[in-house]
């Protein structure tokens, strides 16, 4: 077993040198599967993972084929979930992937940066929704609304848009983005309070429907608030939104020996910023989960009557979960607006809410590595795998009409995956111990 998996990994490393590309990367995924699922001693497994990390990185740098990114995400998952890998190696290899492999691949193919940033933004939001749905058990189908509020909070003041209804020197300079990340926490938490106060008096399906409706209200407001006073510029959206100046970042990177050009500097900056945010959000998640608030949320999810009899007030506790989740989403909204320099209502549809919920469910409700994996899997699927596949179909079978273009069936594939998940692994890819317990009970 050990020799087989090592041979596979070495063979992949060789393949990457000779013929980098989709096929060799597919082979790499096979080798990763062997490493993860065969019975191996911890030492062999660790060695294999290190080899594969090197190989996937090389593959990405040499060919820019995004399957390699899936491989790296797979290794990260293996590092967080597989037992008996030395803690130091986990951290070291994980950091190497996040801080070296992905940026190196990004310089070779900037689309990798774009993917990384998108995954990061969605992962942070999935972690926020995880508090609401996973911990407190409140089914929120309008979560993208908070993302929208956060994004517009910065977009309006970080562009000329604010001139329409305010005196002042707009756009605000880019540095203000950091301040607005804080302001967005307040505005989205308040939006959470506003939506939560009526909605959280309801339970289960009713709550889901009401949050769905209120979420749509926010999007439609964004769509229509271009008259009588032009707040949001309606369906055209707001552009350009200011980005923070990053002279200091270029200098810092320069002193580290990294030369940045016009296209990659902001990409790397936002990639690292998003990584930092995920770190903070994970920390907040863990801290809350192990506090009286996290326990109160789980208690309410498990049994409202018993929880209330323990002195836990229902509405305030639920509101707190709702506002916490909203704030996470709001901060990411600000980063999203600045990174894209463009905000329009289209990004905040019901489908966005459902996609984020799908990430949480796919990964395993209540599970932190699960939410991140779910975000990575669905983002890569949406932005990359399906598009690549449809390109492949289009070039190799040009007689096929454009109506059956696989990219158009994104939602179908997405739904199919969720249905299969519910049948074969309802607790999610990386289940949290509590939910696992509940599923076994059912």
């Amino acid at each position: 077993m050990s020799t087989l998996s090592l041979l596979l990994s070495l063979a992949y490393l060789g393949l990457v040198f000779l013929a980098p590309g989709a096929l060799s990367n597919l082979f790499g995924l096979l080798a990763l599967g062997a490493t993860a699922f065969l019975r191996l001693s911890p030492t062999w497994r660790t060695l294999n993972l290190a080899l594969l990390t090197l190989a996937f990185t090389l593959g990405l740098v040499r060919s820019g084929n995004t399957l390699g990114l899936i491989g790296l995400v797979g290794i990260l998952v293996a590092l967080t979930t597989l037992p008996r890998i030395p803690g130091g190696i986990r951290v070291l290899l994980g950091l190497a992937i996040l801080l070296l492999s992905v940026p190196m691949a990004g310089f070779a193919n900037t689309f990798i940066f774009e993917l990384g940033i998108q995954i990061g933004i969605y992962a942070a939001m999935a972690l926020g929704l995880n508090v609401v749905v996973g911990m407190a058990g409140l089914l929120d189908l309008g979560y993208a609304a908070f993302f929208a509020v956060g994004a517009y909070t910065w977009a309006i003041f970080g562009s000329e848009q604010a001139k329409n209804f305010m005196q002042g020197n707009f756009p605000l300079p880019g540095e203000y983005m950091y301040l607005f990340m804080g302001i967005a926490i307040v505005t989205t938490a308040l939006t959470g309070l506003l939506i939560g106060l009526p909605a959280l008096r309801l339970r289960g399906d009713y709550l889901a429907i009401v949050t769905l409706g209120l979420g749509e209200v926010v999007r439609i407001l964004a769509n229509n608030l271009d008259h009588p006073i032009n707040f949001t510029n309606g369906p055209q959206g707001i552009t350009p939104v200011q980005r923070p100046p990053i002279e200091w970042f270029r200098e810092l990177m320069g002193s580290l020996g990294v030369r940045l050009d016009q296209t990659t500097d902001y990409q790397l900056f936002f990639y690292l910023l998003v990584l930092l945010m995920i770190g903070l959000v994970v920390l907040a998640n863990v801290n809350l989960a192990n506090s009286r608030f996290g326990r109160a949320w789980v208690a309410i999810r498990e049994d409202e009557v018993a929880a209330r009899s323990m002195g836990i007030p229902l509405l305030p506790t639920k509101l707190l979960a709702f506002m916490t989740g909203a704030a996470f989403s709001g901060v990411m909204g600000v980063i999203f607006a600045a990174q894209r320099t463009f905000v329009s209502p289209e990004s905040f549809t019901l489908l966005a809410s459902i996609t984020i919920l799908g990430m949480v469910i796919l990964g395993g409700m209540g599970s932190i590595p699960g939410a991140i994996l779910g975000a990575a899997a669905l983002t890569i699927l949406n932005l990359d795998v399906l598009k690549t596949f449809s390109e492949f179909v289009r070039t190799s079978l040009p007689q096929i009409p454009s109506q059956v273009d696989p990219a158009k069936y994104e939602r179908l594939v997405f739904g199919l995956i969720l249905v299969l998940m519910m049948i074969f692994r309802p607790q999610g890819l990386i289940p949290e111990k509590r939910h696992k317990a509940e599923m076994e009970e059912a």
Partner: protein, 259 residues
């Protein structure tokens, strides 16, 4: 001052009067039982006391304070702990976590301290955990600390539910059929345990119970409900010999004296 004073409490569900004009008072440090046939309104009466339903009429005083119509969490803060007829533990949480939920109101960590896990939050968490562990030792569940509550055997689940109510540091403890499903030996242990709670912790205890041996042995006083109304109240001896109670509830066999 009475531990509990209920005046003319009434609760209707549509046409059904579940609790009808019930008045009673419980002295501090007393063990007081509420008995009655199935459907007599005992659990509804508990639900009135703990705020799960507000009474339609009447008044409830806890240690002299009017708590009529307050929600359950506010009543819990007044020092009322309870267990449920059909055990309601947080099954997917560990034994220790169940107790920590019970201590919720005594863990004084503001939100932002919890978010950043400040030294204050750490200290409070550690203190709470110590207290929970002591409590587990007290009820004899120390070895089970990290098991999921739903994996405990039935008798230990009952115990854990009482421990969770104790974590609230109650002045008044309401036990809804604590001996249900227990064999005679376990019931005897339970009796000793309840008496210990009163003696060592000074808690006033009100219980609903069907096991007449336990009720007669443990109670200072007993109230009898039938069809939502109180039909008798008094010492075990008085209740046992009360002709209305015998007729309505205990039946002819019990009137013979063994009860």
């Amino acid at each position: 001052m009475k531990a509990l004073e209920v005046t003319q409490a009434t609760k209707r569900f549509g046409g059904l009067v579940a609790v009808n004009n019930v008045s009673l008072s419980v002295n501090q440090g007393e063990i007081f039982s509420v008995i009655g046939p199935n459907g007599a309104g005992k659990t509804t009466f508990f639900n009135l006391l703990t705020g799960i339903y507000p009474p339609d009429e009447g008044k409830i005083l806890l240690f002299g304070k009017d708590v009529t119509g307050l929600p359950p969490d506010r009543i819990a803060k007044e020092g009322v702990g309870r267990t449920f007829q059909n055990i309601r533990l947080f099954g997917a949480m560990t034994v220790l976590e169940n107790l920590l939920v019970g201590m919720h109101i005594h863990i004084r960590v503001p939100y932002f301290h919890a978010l950043f896990r400040t030294p204050l939050a750490r200290r409070e968490e550690r203190r709470a955990e110590e207290e929970a562990k002591r409590l587990l030792e007290y009820v004899g569940l120390s070895q089970r600390k990290d098991e999921l509550a739903k994996n405990l055997p039935y008798g230990e689940q009952r115990k854990l539910e009482i421990a969770r109510a104790l974590a609230l540091r109650p002045r008044l403890l309401l036990l809804d059929e604590p001996a249900a499903g227990m064999n005679p030996r376990e019931t005897e242990e339970l009796q000793a345990f309840i008496q210990r709670l009163r003696e060592e912790l000074g808690i006033t205890i009100v219980l609903i119970e069907h096991d007449m041996r336990l009720v007669m042995r443990i109670s200072d006083r007993i109230a009898v409900l039938e069809y939502g109304s109180k039909i008798a109240e008094g010492s075990p001896e008085e209740v046992r010999t009360n002709p209305r109670v015998i007729e309505a509830y205990l039946g002819k066999g019990a009137a013979g004296g063994a009860a």
